[in-house]
């Protein structure tokens, strides 16, 4: 009996440990990646989700109904907004890549990551899906993926009670995959929240929150593009040095 109990506990722990997925840590882009003419990068995006008001923590059905009703005017306003420039991110990335000397192409079709075969490896910084088939399909060595999972607004809840004010939201991940071995050569999680400092309850146009949404959107775009913009860092430093507080 004792052995059975021990085996059961050990099995449960093993199963729980297996279920607990470790989040992928950020991976920096190698300094010599840009400008390498041997590489050819395909730039792809997953389908951009519709703008929405996300209410994590309103866990039960009734909680969610109450939360959605309480935020209905914001939800209605969200439908009037557009995610300016998001679809153009892959073109901007391809342009940056080409300007750096690394050849790139834009993959027009939305990437369906869930449709790719699962992949597992004992190596660190490897993908959970097998992207290698895209190497032959598109004639590329690397795939740069922009995967936006949530865009719009977020308001945290604890059951029926909001624990935060609504904030502008841009979340997802962006990464560069080596198609020889499915390893990340760059990985950037995106979880951008932008608040309104001085009151957000301004229905029906919600100007403060609308501004926060566009701040989150532009910050997200900047975080995706910045590592591939070899000039940004230098340009900013030079520009700032030309401006004194005088």
């Amino acid at each position: 009996m004792y052995i059975l109990k021990t085996a059961f506990i050990a099995l449960s722990i093993a199963m729980l440990a297996a279920c607990a997925a470790t989040p992928q840590a950020p991976v920096s882009l190698s300094g010599d990646f840009l400008g390498d003419s041997e590489k050819k990068v395909g730039v792809a995006m997953t389908e951009v989700p519709e703008l929405d008001v996300h209410l994590p923590g309103a866990a039960c059905l009734l909680c969610l109904a109450v939360a959605e009703t309480a935020n209905s005017s914001l939800s209605k306003h969200t439908k009037t907004l557009t995610a300016d420039g998001v679809e153009e991110i892959k073109n901007s990335l391809a342009d940056l890549m080409n300007e750096s000397g690394t050849s790139s192409i834009v993959i027009d079709d939305n990437l369906d990551i869930a449709a790719l075969p699962k992949f597992s490896s004992k190596e660190v910084n490897t993908t959970k899906r097998d992207f290698r088939s895209l190497k032959e399909t598109h004639g590329i060595t690397h795939l740069l993926v922009v995967d936006i999972s949530q865009i719009g607004f977020i308001r945290n809840y604890a059951n029926y009670v909001p624990t935060s004010d609504p904030k502008g939201l841009f979340s997802g991940e962006s990464y560069l995959v080596n198609l020889n071995n499915n390893t990340y050569e760059w990985y950037r999680p995106l979880d951008i929240h932008k608040s309104v400092a001085d009151g957000w309850k301004e229905p029906p146009a919600f100007p403060g929150l609308t501004n926060a949404f566009y701040q989150a959107l532009e910050t997200g775009k900047e975080q995706i593009l910045q590592p591939f913009n070899s000039e940004t860092g230098i340009a900013v430093r030079e520009a700032l040095s030309d401006n004194s507080a005088d």
Partner: protein, 318 residues
């Protein structure tokens, strides 16, 4: 079940009723058909201690609200009371957290407190008036509660309530000035009301403390006065309808703040040598410093501002 539904309905209504407008001045401009007098009484209604803060960031303000909390059931009223109690506790925690963030942000002022304490509203307003000679008005500074200062004729009153913020990198100062202009009549009429925000050019040296505190804090004081004067000047220009939109739709403008890109959605009103003036989505005026940006995804404006934008290197996202 019926009682539970009624309780949830009450809860939803309570949440919806909580959606009130924030308490800040709405944009009003009724100047068009009213002649402007030759004098303005510049008043300050605030306390004698200048409102000077560290600029807070509430992006990560979120409290642990007890996601696993269990509400007592059985009776709808008990359930409703327990949810409302939960809401009150969470709101209180949120306010405490908000206050803590502001207190932490205010720490940036510690090295400058001695100089800030020496600033007064009257001194700031008097200093600002000397820089407003180009506005075409005779300004007289007075405390709102000081009945000894009165102008002859139908002078207007310009009430200025500035709050100053030092950015967390100690590189710049921001003023947020609530400006209300009204006629000095028995029943004063608001002619203009708005909030004007002006951010200084960033200091890029290695020692902000030395920069701001040199000559007994002269730079800190002078820049604060300049920002205040700029905010009053912008309000006057706006009241006189001297701005017109240079673009037909809202855009997201970018500038640098605390060494990072910052963004504001609105419409471009003016481009000066080193700054942009924007009408924000709330109707406020915001004047931000601009710097050259060689970013390849920058898109210059295609209309009359295009040449200026190209020269100044203004990046504007559509």
């Amino acid at each position: 079940m019926k009682r539970m539904i009624i309780a949830l309905l009450c809860l939803t209504i309570a949440c919806a009723c909580a959606s009130q407008k924030p308490e800040h001045a709405e944009y009003i401009n009724q100047k068009s058909d009213i002649a402007e007098p030759n004098s303005l009484q510049l008043t300050y209604a605030g306390p004698t201690t200048l409102a000077y803060f560290g600029l807070p960031n509430y992006d990560h303000l979120n409290v642990d609200g007890g996601a696993g909390v269990l509400y007592p059931g059985g009776h709808a009223a008990v359930f409703l009371a327990s949810v409302l109690t939960h809401a009150v506790i969470v709101d209180s925690a949120k306010e405490a957290r908000r206050s803590r963030i502001q207190n932490q942000a205010d720490q940036v002022l510690a090295p400058y407190q001695e100089h800030i304490d020496s600033l007064s509203y009257r001194e700031m307003m008097s200093g600002a008036v000397t820089k407003l000679s180009d506005v075409g008005q005779r300004f007289i500074v007075s405390n709102y509660y000081d009945s000894t200062t009165h102008l002859e004729g139908n002078a207007w009153i310009l009430e200025s309530n500035p709050s100053f913020y030092m950015l967390q990198d100690e590189g710049a100062i921001l003023v947020q000035n609530t400006v209300v202009i009204y006629s000095d009549e028995e029943q004063p009429k608001i002619i203009y009301q708005n909030i004007v925000e002006v951010i200084s050019q960033p200091y890029q040296g290695d020692s902000p403390h030395t920069f701001w505190t040199a000559n007994n804090g002269a730079k800190l004081k002078n820049l604060s006065v300049e920002l205040l004067a700029d905010s009053v000047r912008l309000a006057m220009d706006d009241m006189r309808h001297q701005f017109s939109f240079t673009t037909e739709h809202d855009q997201t403008f970018h500038f640098y703040q605390e060494g990072k890109k910052a963004y504001e959605r609105g419409r471009l009103l003016a481009v000066e040598a080193d700054r942009l003036t924007i009408r924000t989505l709330r109707g406020w005026l915001k004047s931000v410093p601009i710097i050259s940006d060689q970013n390849p995804y920058f898109i210059p404006l295609e209309d009359s501002v295009a040449n200026l934008a190209a020269v100044r290197g203004i990046g504007i996202y559509y």
